[in-house]
Symmetry: C2
Subunit: 260 residues, 2 copies
Protein backbone atom coordinates (compact mmCIF):
# COMPACT_ATOMS: atom_id res chain seq x y z
CA UNK A 1 0.00 0.00 0.00
CA UNK A 2 0.99 3.59 -0.63
CA UNK A 3 0.56 5.58 2.60
CA UNK A 4 -0.35 9.23 2.28
CA UNK A 5 -0.87 11.75 5.05
CA UNK A 6 -1.86 15.36 5.42
CA UNK A 7 -2.99 17.62 8.24
CA UNK A 8 -6.48 17.35 6.81
CA UNK A 9 -8.09 17.42 3.46
CA UNK A 10 -5.54 19.10 1.16
CA UNK A 11 -3.64 15.86 0.59
CA UNK A 12 -6.61 14.48 -1.32
CA UNK A 13 -5.32 16.47 -4.32
CA UNK A 14 -2.26 14.18 -4.16
CA UNK A 15 -4.48 11.09 -3.87
CA UNK A 16 -6.24 12.13 -7.07
CA UNK A 17 -2.96 12.74 -8.90
CA UNK A 18 -1.54 9.39 -7.71
CA UNK A 19 -4.57 7.29 -8.60
CA UNK A 20 -4.61 8.92 -12.06
CA UNK A 21 -0.96 7.98 -12.64
CA UNK A 22 -0.75 4.69 -10.77
CA UNK A 23 -4.12 3.03 -11.12
CA UNK A 24 -4.52 -0.21 -9.21
CA UNK A 25 -2.09 0.47 -6.36
CA UNK A 26 -3.82 0.34 -3.00
CA UNK A 27 -3.84 3.62 -1.15
CA UNK A 28 -4.20 4.35 2.53
CA UNK A 29 -4.78 7.96 3.54
CA UNK A 30 -4.58 9.58 6.95
CA UNK A 31 -5.95 13.10 7.52
CA UNK A 32 -5.16 14.50 10.95
CA UNK A 33 -8.44 16.43 11.13
CA UNK A 34 -8.49 16.46 14.94
CA UNK A 35 -5.36 18.65 14.95
CA UNK A 36 -5.69 20.44 11.61
CA UNK A 37 -4.32 22.86 10.44
CA UNK A 38 -0.55 22.30 10.79
CA UNK A 39 0.46 25.45 8.88
CA UNK A 40 0.27 27.91 11.76
CA UNK A 41 1.93 25.66 14.34
CA UNK A 42 5.58 25.46 15.44
CA UNK A 43 8.17 23.20 13.73
CA UNK A 44 8.55 21.17 16.95
CA UNK A 45 4.83 20.38 17.08
CA UNK A 46 4.60 19.69 13.33
CA UNK A 47 7.53 17.21 13.52
CA UNK A 48 5.88 15.35 16.38
CA UNK A 49 2.60 15.10 14.46
CA UNK A 50 4.29 14.00 11.20
CA UNK A 51 6.17 11.19 12.97
CA UNK A 52 2.93 9.98 14.56
CA UNK A 53 1.08 10.13 11.22
CA UNK A 54 3.82 8.11 9.47
CA UNK A 55 3.88 5.51 12.22
CA UNK A 56 0.12 5.08 11.92
CA UNK A 57 0.37 4.41 8.16
CA UNK A 58 3.27 1.97 8.55
CA UNK A 59 1.38 0.05 11.24
CA UNK A 60 -1.52 -0.23 8.78
CA UNK A 61 0.81 -1.82 6.22
CA UNK A 62 2.06 1.07 4.06
CA UNK A 63 5.34 0.26 2.25
CA UNK A 64 5.98 3.74 0.88
CA UNK A 65 5.08 7.12 2.41
CA UNK A 66 3.94 10.26 0.63
CA UNK A 67 3.83 13.39 2.80
CA UNK A 68 0.99 15.15 1.01
CA UNK A 69 1.45 18.24 3.14
CA UNK A 70 3.96 20.98 2.36
CA UNK A 71 4.04 22.15 5.97
CA UNK A 72 5.11 18.70 7.20
CA UNK A 73 7.44 18.27 4.20
CA UNK A 74 9.15 21.57 4.94
CA UNK A 75 10.13 20.81 8.55
CA UNK A 76 9.77 17.05 9.20
CA UNK A 77 11.19 15.19 6.15
CA UNK A 78 14.64 14.50 7.60
CA UNK A 79 13.16 13.35 10.89
CA UNK A 80 10.90 10.86 9.12
CA UNK A 81 13.66 9.50 6.87
CA UNK A 82 15.93 9.09 9.86
CA UNK A 83 13.38 7.24 11.96
CA UNK A 84 11.65 4.97 9.43
CA UNK A 85 13.28 2.74 6.83
CA UNK A 86 10.90 3.00 3.89
CA UNK A 87 10.90 5.23 0.79
CA UNK A 88 9.57 8.68 1.79
CA UNK A 89 8.37 11.30 -0.69
CA UNK A 90 7.85 14.93 0.13
CA UNK A 91 6.07 17.48 -2.02
CA UNK A 92 8.74 20.18 -2.13
CA UNK A 93 11.70 18.84 -4.17
CA UNK A 94 9.64 17.66 -7.18
CA UNK A 95 8.01 21.10 -7.45
CA UNK A 96 11.38 22.84 -7.11
CA UNK A 97 12.94 20.68 -9.86
CA UNK A 98 10.03 21.31 -12.19
CA UNK A 99 10.12 25.05 -11.54
CA UNK A 100 13.83 25.23 -12.38
CA UNK A 101 13.38 23.13 -15.52
CA UNK A 102 10.48 25.14 -16.87
CA UNK A 103 11.25 28.69 -15.76
CA UNK A 104 12.77 30.90 -18.45
CA UNK A 105 13.76 33.97 -16.40
CA UNK A 106 14.14 32.07 -13.11
CA UNK A 107 12.04 34.64 -11.30
CA UNK A 108 10.14 32.27 -9.06
CA UNK A 109 7.36 32.98 -6.57
CA UNK A 110 6.33 30.62 -3.78
CA UNK A 111 3.13 30.68 -1.75
CA UNK A 112 2.44 28.49 1.28
CA UNK A 113 1.40 28.37 4.91
CA UNK A 114 3.23 30.48 7.47
CA UNK A 115 5.21 27.43 8.74
CA UNK A 116 6.26 26.44 5.22
CA UNK A 117 7.35 29.94 4.22
CA UNK A 118 9.10 30.58 7.55
CA UNK A 119 11.14 27.38 7.07
CA UNK A 120 12.77 28.95 3.97
CA UNK A 121 12.98 25.49 2.43
CA UNK A 122 11.94 26.53 -1.10
CA UNK A 123 14.52 29.33 -1.38
CA UNK A 124 17.24 27.07 -0.01
CA UNK A 125 16.49 24.25 -2.43
CA UNK A 126 16.08 26.51 -5.45
CA UNK A 127 19.24 28.50 -4.70
CA UNK A 128 21.29 25.33 -4.14
CA UNK A 129 20.30 24.05 -7.60
CA UNK A 130 20.14 27.36 -9.46
CA UNK A 131 22.15 30.04 -7.64
CA UNK A 132 21.24 32.76 -10.16
CA UNK A 133 17.51 32.32 -9.55
CA UNK A 134 15.48 35.01 -7.79
CA UNK A 135 12.92 33.70 -5.32
CA UNK A 136 10.16 35.57 -3.48
CA UNK A 137 7.91 33.87 -0.93
CA UNK A 138 4.60 34.92 0.57
CA UNK A 139 2.72 33.20 3.41
CA UNK A 140 -1.02 32.92 2.61
CA UNK A 141 -2.51 31.61 5.88
CA UNK A 142 -6.14 32.41 5.03
CA UNK A 143 -6.28 30.29 1.87
CA UNK A 144 -6.52 26.98 3.74
CA UNK A 145 -9.60 28.00 5.76
CA UNK A 146 -11.19 29.50 2.62
CA UNK A 147 -10.70 26.20 0.74
CA UNK A 148 -11.90 24.11 3.68
CA UNK A 149 -15.04 26.28 3.77
CA UNK A 150 -15.57 25.66 0.06
CA UNK A 151 -15.43 29.42 -0.69
CA UNK A 152 -13.87 28.74 -4.09
CA UNK A 153 -15.84 31.15 -6.26
CA UNK A 154 -16.58 33.94 -3.78
CA UNK A 155 -15.43 37.52 -4.54
CA UNK A 156 -13.87 37.79 -1.06
CA UNK A 157 -11.63 34.82 -1.86
CA UNK A 158 -10.54 36.43 -5.15
CA UNK A 159 -9.75 39.69 -3.30
CA UNK A 160 -7.68 37.89 -0.68
CA UNK A 161 -5.79 35.92 -3.36
CA UNK A 162 -5.10 39.18 -5.20
CA UNK A 163 -3.80 40.85 -2.04
CA UNK A 164 -1.49 37.94 -1.24
CA UNK A 165 -0.14 37.75 -4.80
CA UNK A 166 0.51 41.48 -5.27
CA UNK A 167 4.13 41.40 -3.97
CA UNK A 168 4.88 38.58 -6.45
CA UNK A 169 3.13 40.30 -9.33
CA UNK A 170 5.19 43.47 -8.96
CA UNK A 171 8.35 41.33 -9.08
CA UNK A 172 7.26 40.01 -12.47
CA UNK A 173 7.74 36.35 -11.63
CA UNK A 174 7.42 33.89 -14.50
CA UNK A 175 6.79 30.82 -12.32
CA UNK A 176 4.65 30.36 -9.22
CA UNK A 177 4.96 27.31 -6.97
CA UNK A 178 1.76 26.35 -5.14
CA UNK A 179 3.49 25.35 -1.90
CA UNK A 180 0.44 23.89 -0.19
CA UNK A 181 -1.70 20.95 -1.28
CA UNK A 182 -4.87 22.99 -0.71
CA UNK A 183 -3.98 25.59 -3.30
CA UNK A 184 -4.53 23.59 -6.52
CA UNK A 185 -8.22 23.83 -5.64
CA UNK A 186 -7.93 27.62 -6.14
CA UNK A 187 -5.72 27.31 -9.22
CA UNK A 188 -8.08 29.15 -11.59
CA UNK A 189 -8.38 32.17 -9.30
CA UNK A 190 -4.65 32.18 -8.63
CA UNK A 191 -3.86 32.00 -12.36
CA UNK A 192 -6.24 34.89 -13.08
CA UNK A 193 -4.79 37.09 -10.35
CA UNK A 194 -1.09 36.42 -10.97
CA UNK A 195 -1.49 36.70 -14.77
CA UNK A 196 -1.98 34.14 -17.53
CA UNK A 197 1.70 34.35 -18.58
CA UNK A 198 2.89 32.90 -15.25
CA UNK A 199 3.53 29.15 -15.17
CA UNK A 200 1.93 27.58 -12.11
CA UNK A 201 3.62 24.56 -10.53
CA UNK A 202 1.24 22.24 -8.72
CA UNK A 203 3.15 20.21 -6.14
CA UNK A 204 0.47 17.52 -6.00
CA UNK A 205 1.10 16.65 -9.67
CA UNK A 206 4.89 16.86 -9.30
CA UNK A 207 5.07 14.43 -6.39
CA UNK A 208 2.77 11.95 -8.15
CA UNK A 209 5.10 11.97 -11.20
CA UNK A 210 8.05 11.44 -8.89
CA UNK A 211 6.47 8.41 -7.21
CA UNK A 212 5.59 6.95 -10.61
CA UNK A 213 9.19 7.34 -11.87
CA UNK A 214 10.54 5.83 -8.66
CA UNK A 215 8.34 2.74 -8.95
CA UNK A 216 9.37 2.24 -12.59
CA UNK A 217 13.01 2.39 -11.53
CA UNK A 218 12.46 0.24 -8.42
CA UNK A 219 10.22 -2.67 -9.45
CA UNK A 220 11.23 -4.48 -6.24
CA UNK A 221 9.37 -1.76 -4.27
CA UNK A 222 6.44 -1.80 -6.68
CA UNK A 223 6.14 -5.54 -6.10
CA UNK A 224 5.65 -4.92 -2.38
CA UNK A 225 2.60 -2.75 -3.07
CA UNK A 226 -0.75 -4.49 -2.97
CA UNK A 227 -2.76 -3.86 -6.12
CA UNK A 228 -6.44 -4.48 -5.50
CA UNK A 229 -7.21 -0.88 -6.46
CA UNK A 230 -8.60 -0.03 -3.01
CA UNK A 231 -8.48 3.30 -1.21
CA UNK A 232 -8.91 3.56 2.55
CA UNK A 233 -9.41 6.90 4.27
CA UNK A 234 -8.67 7.38 7.96
CA UNK A 235 -9.21 10.63 9.86
CA UNK A 236 -8.61 11.60 13.46
CA UNK A 237 -11.93 13.47 13.55
CA UNK A 238 -15.06 13.03 11.43
CA UNK A 239 -16.95 16.16 10.42
CA UNK A 240 -19.56 16.80 7.76
CA UNK A 241 -17.35 19.46 6.24
CA UNK A 242 -14.60 16.92 5.46
CA UNK A 243 -17.02 14.69 3.54
CA UNK A 244 -18.33 17.67 1.61
CA UNK A 245 -14.92 18.98 0.57
CA UNK A 246 -13.65 15.42 -0.13
CA UNK A 247 -16.48 15.02 -2.60
CA UNK A 248 -15.48 18.24 -4.40
CA UNK A 249 -11.84 17.10 -4.52
CA UNK A 250 -12.23 13.45 -5.46
CA UNK A 251 -15.48 13.70 -7.37
CA UNK A 252 -17.08 10.90 -5.35
CA UNK A 253 -18.31 9.99 -1.88
CA UNK A 254 -15.71 8.22 0.24
CA UNK A 255 -16.07 6.16 3.38
CA UNK A 256 -14.13 7.50 6.34
CA UNK A 257 -12.80 5.53 9.31
CA UNK A 258 -12.35 7.43 12.56
CA UNK A 259 -9.18 6.71 14.54
CA UNK A 260 -7.83 8.41 17.64
Amino acid sequence: MIGIFDSGIGGLTVVRALTDRLPGRDIIYFGDTARTPYGNKSPETIIRYALEDTEFLLNKGAKLIVMACNTASSVATEHIIEKFHVPVFEVITPAVLLSIETSGKHRIGVIGTRATINSGVYEKKIMSMKPEAKVWSVPCPLLVPLVEEGWLEKPETAMIVKKYLLPLKVRQIDTLILGCTHYPILKKTIQRKIGMQVNIIDSSLSVAEKVKTFLTQHPETDELLSKAGTSEFFVSDVTGQFRKTAKILLGKNISLTHVK
Copy 2:
Protein backbone atom coordinates in the same frame (compact mmCIF):
# COMPACT_ATOMS: atom_id res chain seq x y z
CA MET B 1 -6.40 30.40 41.20
CA ILE B 2 -9.01 30.93 38.55
CA GLY B 3 -8.40 28.47 35.70
CA ILE B 4 -9.38 29.57 32.20
CA PHE B 5 -9.09 27.62 28.99
CA ASP B 6 -9.72 28.13 25.32
CA SER B 7 -8.77 26.38 22.09
CA GLY B 8 -6.30 29.16 21.50
CA ILE B 9 -6.20 32.86 21.86
CA GLY B 10 -9.87 33.96 21.92
CA GLY B 11 -10.19 33.27 25.63
CA LEU B 12 -7.82 36.13 26.37
CA THR B 13 -10.84 38.45 25.92
CA VAL B 14 -12.28 36.68 28.99
CA VAL B 15 -8.99 37.07 30.87
CA ARG B 16 -9.12 40.79 30.24
CA ALA B 17 -12.75 41.05 31.38
CA LEU B 18 -12.02 38.98 34.53
CA THR B 19 -8.92 40.89 35.59
CA ASP B 20 -10.82 44.17 35.13
CA ARG B 21 -13.63 42.97 37.41
CA LEU B 22 -11.69 40.83 39.89
CA PRO B 23 -8.31 42.46 40.26
CA GLY B 24 -5.88 40.59 42.48
CA ARG B 25 -7.16 37.03 41.88
CA ASP B 26 -4.47 34.80 40.43
CA ILE B 27 -5.23 33.54 36.98
CA ILE B 28 -3.95 30.49 35.13
CA TYR B 29 -4.71 30.25 31.42
CA PHE B 30 -4.38 27.33 29.05
CA GLY B 31 -4.60 27.83 25.28
CA ASP B 32 -4.65 24.59 23.30
CA THR B 33 -2.75 26.10 20.39
CA ALA B 34 -1.37 22.73 19.22
CA ARG B 35 -4.92 21.58 18.39
CA THR B 36 -6.63 24.89 17.64
CA PRO B 37 -9.23 25.59 16.33
CA TYR B 38 -11.98 23.57 18.05
CA GLY B 39 -14.88 25.16 16.16
CA ASN B 40 -14.77 22.96 13.06
CA LYS B 41 -14.23 19.67 14.91
CA SER B 42 -16.76 17.08 16.07
CA PRO B 43 -18.51 17.18 19.49
CA GLU B 44 -16.77 13.92 20.50
CA THR B 45 -13.31 15.38 19.86
CA ILE B 46 -14.14 18.73 21.48
CA ILE B 47 -15.41 16.99 24.65
CA ARG B 48 -12.19 14.97 24.91
CA TYR B 49 -10.06 18.10 24.52
CA ALA B 50 -12.15 20.11 27.03
CA LEU B 51 -11.82 17.39 29.68
CA GLU B 52 -8.03 17.29 29.17
CA ASP B 53 -7.77 21.08 29.35
CA THR B 54 -9.76 21.19 32.60
CA GLU B 55 -7.67 18.43 34.14
CA PHE B 56 -4.50 20.33 33.30
CA LEU B 57 -5.74 23.48 35.06
CA LEU B 58 -6.93 21.58 38.15
CA ASN B 59 -3.57 19.81 38.40
CA LYS B 60 -1.93 23.23 38.35
CA GLY B 61 -4.06 24.31 41.33
CA ALA B 62 -7.12 26.00 39.82
CA LYS B 63 -10.11 26.05 42.20
CA LEU B 64 -12.65 27.38 39.71
CA ILE B 65 -12.87 26.79 35.97
CA VAL B 66 -13.96 29.24 33.29
CA MET B 67 -14.48 27.71 29.84
CA ALA B 68 -13.54 30.75 27.78
CA CYS B 69 -14.55 29.01 24.58
CA ASN B 70 -18.10 28.90 23.25
CA THR B 71 -17.40 25.78 21.20
CA ALA B 72 -16.31 23.82 24.29
CA SER B 73 -19.11 25.41 26.35
CA SER B 74 -21.71 24.36 23.81
CA VAL B 75 -20.90 20.64 23.81
CA ALA B 76 -18.71 19.80 26.84
CA THR B 77 -20.14 21.67 29.86
CA GLU B 78 -22.16 18.78 31.29
CA HIS B 79 -19.27 16.38 30.84
CA ILE B 80 -16.93 18.68 32.77
CA ILE B 81 -19.41 19.32 35.60
CA GLU B 82 -20.04 15.59 35.90
CA LYS B 83 -16.36 14.65 36.05
CA PHE B 84 -14.84 17.40 38.18
CA HIS B 85 -16.12 18.74 41.49
CA VAL B 86 -15.34 22.44 41.27
CA PRO B 87 -17.39 25.45 40.16
CA VAL B 88 -17.47 25.53 36.35
CA PHE B 89 -18.54 28.55 34.31
CA GLU B 90 -19.42 28.46 30.65
CA VAL B 91 -19.84 31.45 28.37
CA ILE B 92 -23.28 30.67 26.96
CA THR B 93 -25.83 31.00 29.78
CA PRO B 94 -24.68 34.47 30.97
CA ALA B 95 -24.98 35.81 27.42
CA VAL B 96 -28.39 34.21 26.95
CA LEU B 97 -29.69 35.72 30.22
CA LEU B 98 -28.41 39.16 29.31
CA SER B 99 -29.90 38.96 25.82
CA ILE B 100 -33.34 38.08 27.22
CA GLU B 101 -33.16 40.83 29.84
CA THR B 102 -32.15 43.55 27.42
CA SER B 103 -33.94 42.61 24.18
CA GLY B 104 -37.14 44.58 23.54
CA LYS B 105 -38.56 42.67 20.58
CA HIS B 106 -36.88 39.36 21.45
CA ARG B 107 -35.66 38.96 17.89
CA ILE B 108 -32.23 37.56 18.68
CA GLY B 109 -29.37 36.66 16.36
CA VAL B 110 -26.48 34.37 17.30
CA ILE B 111 -23.15 34.00 15.52
CA GLY B 112 -20.53 31.38 16.36
CA THR B 113 -18.34 28.59 15.04
CA ARG B 114 -19.87 25.72 13.07
CA ALA B 115 -19.69 23.38 16.12
CA THR B 116 -21.38 25.94 18.39
CA ILE B 117 -24.19 26.74 15.95
CA ASN B 118 -24.73 23.06 15.05
CA SER B 119 -25.14 22.24 18.74
CA GLY B 120 -28.28 24.44 18.82
CA VAL B 121 -27.50 25.33 22.43
CA TYR B 122 -28.35 29.03 22.15
CA GLU B 123 -31.80 28.45 20.64
CA LYS B 124 -32.56 25.76 23.21
CA LYS B 125 -31.56 27.95 26.16
CA ILE B 126 -33.30 31.07 24.87
CA MET B 127 -36.52 29.21 24.00
CA SER B 128 -36.60 27.46 27.38
CA MET B 129 -36.45 30.82 29.17
CA LYS B 130 -38.44 32.92 26.71
CA PRO B 131 -40.62 30.71 24.51
CA GLU B 132 -41.99 33.65 22.51
CA ALA B 133 -38.49 34.72 21.39
CA LYS B 134 -37.38 34.37 17.77
CA VAL B 135 -33.82 33.16 17.32
CA TRP B 136 -31.72 32.97 14.16
CA SER B 137 -28.21 31.50 14.14
CA VAL B 138 -25.42 31.75 11.61
CA PRO B 139 -22.09 29.87 11.64
CA CYS B 140 -19.18 32.21 10.80
CA PRO B 141 -16.20 29.82 10.49
CA LEU B 142 -13.88 32.28 8.75
CA LEU B 143 -13.95 34.91 11.49
CA VAL B 144 -11.62 32.98 13.82
CA PRO B 145 -8.81 32.68 11.22
CA LEU B 146 -9.29 36.34 10.25
CA VAL B 147 -8.91 37.43 13.89
CA GLU B 148 -5.95 35.11 14.47
CA GLU B 149 -4.30 36.67 11.40
CA GLY B 150 -4.88 40.13 12.84
CA TRP B 151 -6.95 41.14 9.78
CA LEU B 152 -9.13 43.41 11.91
CA GLU B 153 -9.36 46.49 9.70
CA LYS B 154 -9.10 44.93 6.24
CA PRO B 155 -11.90 45.49 3.69
CA GLU B 156 -12.07 41.74 2.98
CA THR B 157 -12.89 41.13 6.65
CA ALA B 158 -15.66 43.74 6.56
CA MET B 159 -17.09 42.11 3.40
CA ILE B 160 -17.06 38.66 4.97
CA VAL B 161 -18.69 39.98 8.17
CA LYS B 162 -21.38 41.68 6.06
CA LYS B 163 -22.05 38.47 4.11
CA TYR B 164 -22.38 36.41 7.29
CA LEU B 165 -24.69 38.96 8.96
CA LEU B 166 -27.03 39.51 6.02
CA PRO B 167 -29.52 36.73 6.97
CA LEU B 168 -29.75 38.26 10.47
CA LYS B 169 -30.12 41.80 9.15
CA VAL B 170 -33.07 40.91 6.95
CA ARG B 171 -34.75 39.37 10.02
CA GLN B 172 -34.49 42.74 11.78
CA ILE B 173 -32.98 41.36 14.95
CA ASP B 174 -32.65 43.79 17.86
CA THR B 175 -30.00 41.77 19.73
CA LEU B 176 -26.92 39.92 18.50
CA ILE B 177 -25.03 37.44 20.67
CA LEU B 178 -21.31 37.12 19.87
CA GLY B 179 -21.15 33.37 20.43
CA CYS B 180 -17.38 33.05 20.15
CA THR B 181 -14.71 34.63 22.33
CA HIS B 182 -12.81 35.76 19.23
CA TYR B 183 -15.61 37.95 17.99
CA PRO B 184 -15.41 40.84 20.49
CA ILE B 185 -12.18 41.73 18.71
CA LEU B 186 -14.26 42.47 15.59
CA LYS B 187 -17.04 44.19 17.55
CA LYS B 188 -16.76 47.55 15.77
CA THR B 189 -17.03 45.99 12.31
CA ILE B 190 -19.86 43.73 13.43
CA GLN B 191 -21.76 46.68 14.94
CA ARG B 192 -21.36 48.70 11.74
CA LYS B 193 -22.53 45.87 9.49
CA ILE B 194 -25.50 44.70 11.58
CA GLY B 195 -26.64 48.28 12.28
CA MET B 196 -26.11 50.67 15.20
CA GLN B 197 -29.59 50.00 16.61
CA VAL B 198 -28.74 46.35 17.36
CA ASN B 199 -27.59 45.58 20.90
CA ILE B 200 -24.48 43.38 20.85
CA ILE B 201 -23.98 40.88 23.67
CA ASP B 202 -20.36 40.08 24.37
CA SER B 203 -20.10 36.70 26.10
CA SER B 204 -16.66 37.48 27.52
CA LEU B 205 -18.10 40.36 29.57
CA SER B 206 -21.19 38.37 30.60
CA VAL B 207 -19.24 35.44 32.01
CA ALA B 208 -16.86 37.73 33.90
CA GLU B 209 -19.87 39.42 35.56
CA LYS B 210 -21.26 36.01 36.42
CA VAL B 211 -18.01 34.88 38.08
CA LYS B 212 -17.84 38.13 40.05
CA THR B 213 -21.42 37.70 41.32
CA PHE B 214 -20.74 34.08 42.24
CA LEU B 215 -17.66 34.97 44.29
CA THR B 216 -19.58 37.70 46.13
CA GLN B 217 -22.28 35.16 46.99
CA HIS B 218 -19.77 32.41 47.83
CA PRO B 219 -17.00 34.00 49.91
CA GLU B 220 -15.89 30.50 50.94
CA THR B 221 -14.86 29.85 47.31
CA ASP B 222 -13.29 33.29 46.99
CA GLU B 223 -11.18 32.49 50.06
CA LEU B 224 -9.73 29.47 48.26
CA LEU B 225 -8.42 31.68 45.46
CA SER B 226 -4.85 32.89 45.79
CA LYS B 227 -4.61 36.64 45.45
CA ALA B 228 -1.09 37.66 44.51
CA GLY B 229 -2.38 39.25 41.29
CA THR B 230 -0.37 36.90 39.06
CA SER B 231 -1.30 35.61 35.62
CA GLU B 232 0.29 32.49 34.16
CA PHE B 233 -0.18 31.55 30.51
CA PHE B 234 0.31 27.98 29.27
CA VAL B 235 0.00 26.92 25.65
CA SER B 236 0.35 23.55 23.94
CA ASP B 237 2.30 25.16 21.09
CA VAL B 238 4.33 28.37 20.97
CA THR B 239 4.13 30.48 17.82
CA GLY B 240 5.06 34.07 17.10
CA GLN B 241 1.51 34.73 15.96
CA PHE B 242 0.09 33.93 19.40
CA ARG B 243 2.39 36.45 21.09
CA LYS B 244 1.47 39.09 18.55
CA THR B 245 -2.28 38.63 18.88
CA ALA B 246 -2.02 38.30 22.68
CA LYS B 247 -0.39 41.69 22.78
CA ILE B 248 -3.27 43.22 20.79
CA LEU B 249 -5.81 41.60 23.12
CA LEU B 250 -4.22 42.19 26.50
CA GLY B 251 -2.33 45.35 25.68
CA LYS B 252 0.94 43.95 27.03
CA ASN B 253 3.59 41.32 26.41
CA ILE B 254 2.99 38.07 28.26
CA SER B 255 5.31 35.23 29.07
CA LEU B 256 4.20 31.87 27.71
CA THR B 257 5.02 28.42 29.05
CA HIS B 258 4.95 25.55 26.59
CA VAL B 259 3.37 22.30 27.77
CA LYS B 260 2.61 19.13 25.85
